[in-house]
Amino acid sequence: MTDSGIDITDLNVMVEGATLLNQVRLAVARGRRCAVVGPSGAGKTTLIRAIAGLVESTGTIRIDNRDVTAMAPQHRQLGVVTQRPMLLPHMRVIENVELPLRARRVARTARKRIALDLLDLVGVAPLADRSVHGLSGGEAQRVALARALATEPRALLLDEPLSAVDPEARAQLQQTIIDVQRQSGATLLVVTHDRDEALALGQTIAVMVQGCIVAHATPNELITTPGRADVARLVGRGSIIAADQPLAGRLAPECACPIWLPHHAVYTSEPASSTESVLRLEGQLGRSQLTQSGFTTSFLIGDLSIDVVTVHPICNEAAPGSIWIDTSLVSPIKDGD
């Protein structure tokens, strides 16, 4: 038996005839952090809701090697934080955090002490006696996190936890989430549509598209070898260039140093074999060799120098022959070359 914190097998969710999750398989090692990234409508929130038992599903969900598929949400021992903090407005901050402890019949004094410790852990202990009205987005989300931790969760499920938080507080809260996860040892699954958030929070990243997990790997693996066009678009730092499209002006957006190529440059991919690809740029033929990080080619075209371009053939039925260019690995044009 693997040491899985979260192990999902063949998870399906259908709502009124629509398939929201389709044969989802995902395994997150115990105590690790996984970020699920995907476009809006991909099924990310449904995945969280299915794991939490809030939506009917088929398949198997195991948390810490315990099959929770048939369990009611209140028995799954999870901590869920949603996009909006969902604090109870008629309770003070500390009472919100105490609620899960009350449900577990923890004695009053112990309850208060634990709640204060948790609020301290997420950095909002001074707000304990405040009403939840008037908390900032970041403060409210911290309280929600403390409340989720009060369940002593086997897994923490965070659904777009930073989307309602202002940019300044976002980085701090990201760090708090990481610190809290480390301290609690709970497996963390966070869903987001924000690539940077996923990269910051996830030790692994699962890419979700149209109700399916299409890739799950470390951030570095996904960035350098996305394998699919949709994964490249969601996670990668580069550009996808159709084989017969002009390359000009397409490389620059996410590259720290701007790259300029002549407008009439034509970039073509002529796969030679599974380990070799042939590229033609401005009439110059470059033979690419498969290296550990992908296909590597060097070009020198007129007064322009592209030192290294790492490319990957993209497995994309919709656009066969398209290639993935990791712009982070493109060297800037050197003056005087």
């Binding site: 109870l88 609620l99 899960p100």
Partner: protein, 258 residues
């Protein structure tokens, strides 16, 4: 500018409306103390307590207490049933939810007399007639229908999400109801209970048709409208008092928190 004009128009409409209501109540008070008031005179020829004496001689108190009990029980039972039904309905599929809601509100949509006669026939067939529980039972469809209409749409996304998050925090159904659902619906529940009370309080046809020998204020009041108008006015005022009290007493929890 537009907001100020809207406020002014709203205030004017409210003043006209209050004046109308106050006029009706004032007319009732005058009528209750009019021992002689022959048309076409604008004011009574003689004032006195004749109407009050007639009303009290007719054991108004008994009918008052009976009506109070029936309306309170109907409002509470209806409130619990409507809330429970809505709790299930909002989480059901779209079709099931629509069907449940239509079934719940249909007594309020159909002509009252039709529903009342149907209820009365059914109650007679199954041998329920005359008791207070029968009266409560036949009031319930009307009470629940209006309570459902008040509660409709109150289980918004936020409340459902709060309930869901509470469930994931280990909070069981009863505790969820007490700590999440009821506080979240407090205002609407108060309004539903008040409306349920008032719907039952004013029921005449249903009570008349099913409850032979039942003693409620509307049953006493209607026959007196022609024969004893002063006593009828007294009973109408008696009917107004709990309605006003319900509104005033229940106003407190509906105030917005500061």
């Amino acid at each position: 500018m537009i907001a100020r004009e809207n406020t002014r128009s709203g205030r004017s409409i409210a003043i006209v409306w209050l004046a109308l209501v106050a006029g009706v109540v004032l007319w009732l008070v005058v009528r209750a103390f009019a021992d002689a008031w022959r048309a076409p005179a604008m004011l009574p020829q003689a004032y006195g307590l004749y109407g009050w004496n007639v009303a009290l001689r007719n054991s108004l108190q008994h009918a008052f207490v009976q009506s109070l009990l029936i309306a309170t029980i109907a409002a509470l039972v209806g409130g619990v049933l409507a809330t429970s039904a809505m709790t299930v309905a909002v989480r059901a599929g779209r079709r099931a939810r629509r069907l449940a809601l239509v079934l719940l509100v249909v007594p309020a949509l159909l002509p009252g007399t039709v529903v009342a006669i149907g209820m009365a026939t059914f109650a007679t067939r199954i041998g329920l007639q005359g008791s207070m529980s029968t009266v409560v039972a036949v009031h319930l469809p009307f009470v629940m229908a209006w309570q459902t209409i008040v509660l409709l749409g109150t289980w918004d996304r936020t409340l459902r999400e709060r309930e869901d998050v509470a469930a994931t925090l280990g909070v069981g159904p009863v505790m969820r109801l007490v700590h999440v659902t009821i506080p979240g619906l407090r205002l609407q529940l108060v309004a539903a209970l008040a409306l349920g009370f008032l719907v039952s309080w004013g029921q005449y046809t249903t009570t008349l048709l099913v409850a032979t020998g039942a003693d409620t204020l509307p049953l006493r009041l209607v026959p007196m409208v022609q024969s004893q108008p002063a006593a009828a006015a007294v009973m109408t005022i008696a009917m107004l008092v709990p309605a006003l009290l319900v509104t005033l007493v229940l106003r407190a929890p509906t105030r917005r928190p500061s």
